[in-house]
């Protein structure tokens, strides 16, 4: 059911990682740019890439693992085809974000950090998208949406890839 949900892979992951390491490894403080490039290309940072990354930037595997797991943005497992971020911060709370998060969980059939019942969406909290004067705000993949009502949420989800 969820096999189809991964991002389409344009290229062999090993080769993609090798190319990124080749391009970035000599930059000062290269680790975050490397991890971003890998995640942007593959949709996540595969656990089996840690050794190659560590070798390239002359760090221990533990240090690289520590960085990947420290930052909320990096994921070690593939996300669903679409990632939905709903802002939970104070400004959005003042305009009903808690209710929106609850509605989203019911509508998608999953908890925060989980994957929707149909496997199409990963639901994540965000702590501020910088749209605090147009709350509540959310993001589907890279597309921002403001003043989101539960009804607007359902429409956006349907548009992005069909709900249940």
């Amino acid at each position: 059911m969820t096999e189809l949900a991964e991002r389409p892979r344009a290229q062999d992951p090993q080769a993609a990682i090798a190319a990124i390491l080749q391009r970035r490894a000599q930059e000062p403080g290269a680790l975050l740019p490397i991890l971003h490039d890998i995640q942007d290309t593959l949709g996540h940072v595969p656990a089996d890439a840690v050794t190659a990354i560590a070798d390239a930037v002359n760090l221990s595997r533990a240090e690289v693992h520590g960085v990947i797991t420290y930052y909320h943005h990096f994921r070690s497992e593939p996300a669903a085809r679409h990632v939905v971020h709903i802002c939970r911060a104070e400004a959005c709370q003042s305009m009903g974000a808690d209710a929106l998060v609850e509605h989203a969980q019911n509508h998608l059939g999953c908890a925060l950090h989980g994957r929707s019942k149909n496997g199409e969406f990963t639901l994540e909290p965000a702590y501020c998208l910088g749209l605090c004067a147009s709350s509540p705000a959310m993001m589907i993949d890279d597309e921002l949406h403001a003043r989101v009502t539960p009804r607007a949420f359902d429409a956006l989800i349907a548009q992005a890839g069909g709900a249940q």
């Binding site: 403080g29 709370q93 709350s135």
Partner: protein, 518 residues
């Protein structure tokens, strides 16, 4: 004749359909054989009117908003191109009271220019500051920043000139300018607007900082939640390089300055300056102990000037118009202007740049028009997730760093989150602790463990389990966090918690102090 129409490209406009509006105008104009040029400007910051479309007329720019794609045909029918009447007609943009009553120094160009056009930037006083700085001795540039009274706009309000002087006075083979663009505070968006809507202003400020302190490399650390800001900065840097404003020989001065954008990865605490430096170095964003100060031992162990976006973006006008011009705005030791952000449950949310000294009440009602829900405003959180909840009795204090510190609050980055009377302050206090637990870097115990214990204690208070004892425990815990934490994350999380407890005891199920005494 070409009709120039402006449709903002700011994230807050895109999030309510600005791209669709721009496409509709394009299609309708071509169907009617109208010669329309669409400029994707920054936002004026009147977010309740977004997407706000403007059109150039002989009398000045005229605004319409909020525009949906469905409004476009009727807008063109009624003569959008010559500022014709329409239900969405707002009049001359500059005459809209919300804008007219501001003192826009830093945001002077915001929403007026095409953010990526150097020609537009130059035509609106852009790069006048850098040109002036290049005619001055570096010490004089530092002195101008000192004399302006500019303080760190990220929240700590440390005098910017002192940092500049320290970096300038430290000799090293390499120095860095780092811009803290990890704007994670809820209720704030002035950094985002600057990067998306006037990126050259930030680039110019950083270049001036490089010239003044002898740094040749700069990094802008932008949070990953701001994809449009990252794209705009990268494009602006490329344009500035091509025009000779960045690179090995800035404007033929023989001085070098290179700039690079670094993307964060969703860690709030990376907005703390030393954690941010760790993150650029490719490590976990763990706070460093100070000293050594970043100005002496900073990025990659080298002297580093680290300032917030708005601090650096305030520098060009200080150099262009002089320190005195800037210092003449403001009150007490808070000089110049602060780009304030009205957010949350507010009718007219947006960006309001005012000189220090304005009151919260003026901002909430004269600018903001009261709550969005129409219900009474109960509390305002000033200064992000680490800022205090202010009850109505504190809304008349003039905005001033010292005055706010004196009442246990902070101006922070100038964000105000408005809550109406349906808000439960005990829930918001719990959220403050929860957020700290999620985002703590884990280095110091008061923050790492205190935040989790804080959530538990507030849960017990809310559930009325040994409430009086738990309140004492919560105050004790807050005291430990304030005095024992390494940085502001743990050290200021008690501000929203204690202010909620002190000003809204009913929400915690406890009687206010006067009723207890009775």
């Amino acid at each position: 004749m070409t009709i120039t129409v402006y449709v903002p490209r700011d994230s807050a406009a895109l999030a309510v359909g600005a791209d669709r509006v721009a496409r509709a105008i394009e299609q309708q104009a071509s169907a009617r054989k109208l010669d329309v040029k669409i400029v994707r400007n920054g936002s004026r910051g009147l977010f309740w009117l977004e997407p706000m479309v403007e059109v150039q007329t002989p009398e000045g720019r005229v605004a319409y908003g909020p525009v949906t794609p469905a409004d476009v045909p009727s807008l063109l029918d009624t003569g959008l191109y010559n500022g014709g009447a329409h239900p969405l007609y707002l009049g001359l943009t500059e005459e809209i009271p919300y804008l007219k009553n501001q003192e826009r120094l830093t945001f002077a160009r915001m929403g007026i220019t095409d953010p990526l056009s150097i020609a537009d930037y130059e035509a609106h006083e852009g790069y006048a500051g850098l040109r002036a700085a290049l005619q001055m001795a570096p010490d004089a540039v530092v002195q101008a920043v000192l004399d302006s009274g500019l303080r760190g706009r990220g929240g700590a309000a440390f005098p910017a000139g002192i940092k500049w002087k320290t970096v300038a006075g430290t000799s090293a083979t390499q120095k860095y300018i780092v811009c803290n663009a990890d704007e994670g505070d809820s209720g704030t968006f002035s950094d985002r607007m600057t990067m998306e809507g006037d990126p050259f202003m930030l680039i110019e400020g950083m270049t001036i900082a490089g010239i003044a302190t002898g740094a040749t490399r700069g990094y802008i650390y932008v949070r990953s939640e701001y994809p449009h800001a990252i794209a705009a900065l990268n494009a602006a840097i490329a344009n500035a390089e091509a025009a000779g404003y960045l690179g090995a020989d800035v404007l033929g001065s023989g001085r070098a300055f290179w700039l690079e954008v670094r993307k964060g990865a969703g860690s709030y605490v990376c907005g703390e300056e030393t954690a941010l430096l760790e993150s650029i170095e490719g490590k976990r964003g763990i706070v460093r102990a100070k000293p050594p100060l970043p100005a002496i031992t900073g990025l990659f162990g080298k002297p580093t000037l680290i300032n917030n976006v708005i601090t650096l973006a305030s520098v060009p006008i200080i150099l262009a118009r002089g320190a005195t011009f800037y210092r003449d705005y403001g009150v007490g030791r808070s000089r110049g202007t602060l780009p304030l952000q009205l957010a949350g449950n507010i009718k007219r949310g947006g960006l309001v740049e005012k000189a220090f000294g304005v009151t919260l009440r003026e901002l909430l009602y004269d600018f903001g028009g009261g709550s969005a829900s129409g219900r009474p405003i109960k509390a305002v959180q000033m200064g992000g997730p680490l800022g205090a909840y202010l009850p109505e009795s504190q809304w008349d204090t003039p905005l001033d760093y010292e005055a706010y510190a004196a009442m246990g609050g902070t101006l922070g980055h100038g964000g105000m989150v408005v809550h109406d009377d349906t808000a439960d302050l005990s829930k918001l206090a719990r959220y403050a602790m929860e957020f700290c637990a999620i985002e703590s870097c884990g280095k110091c115990t008061p923050c790492r463990i205190g935040s989790t214990r804080g959530v538990e204690v507030i849960d017990k208070i809310r559930a009325n389990q040994n409430r009086p004892q738990q309140v004492i425990l919560l105050r004790d815990l807050c005291d430990t966090m304030v005095n024992g934490s390494l940085c502001a994350m743990g050290g200021m999380t008690p501000f929203p918690v204690l202010s909620a407890l002190n000003h809204f005891p009913d929400d915690f199920g406890i009687a206010p102090p006067d009723r207890q005494a009775a």
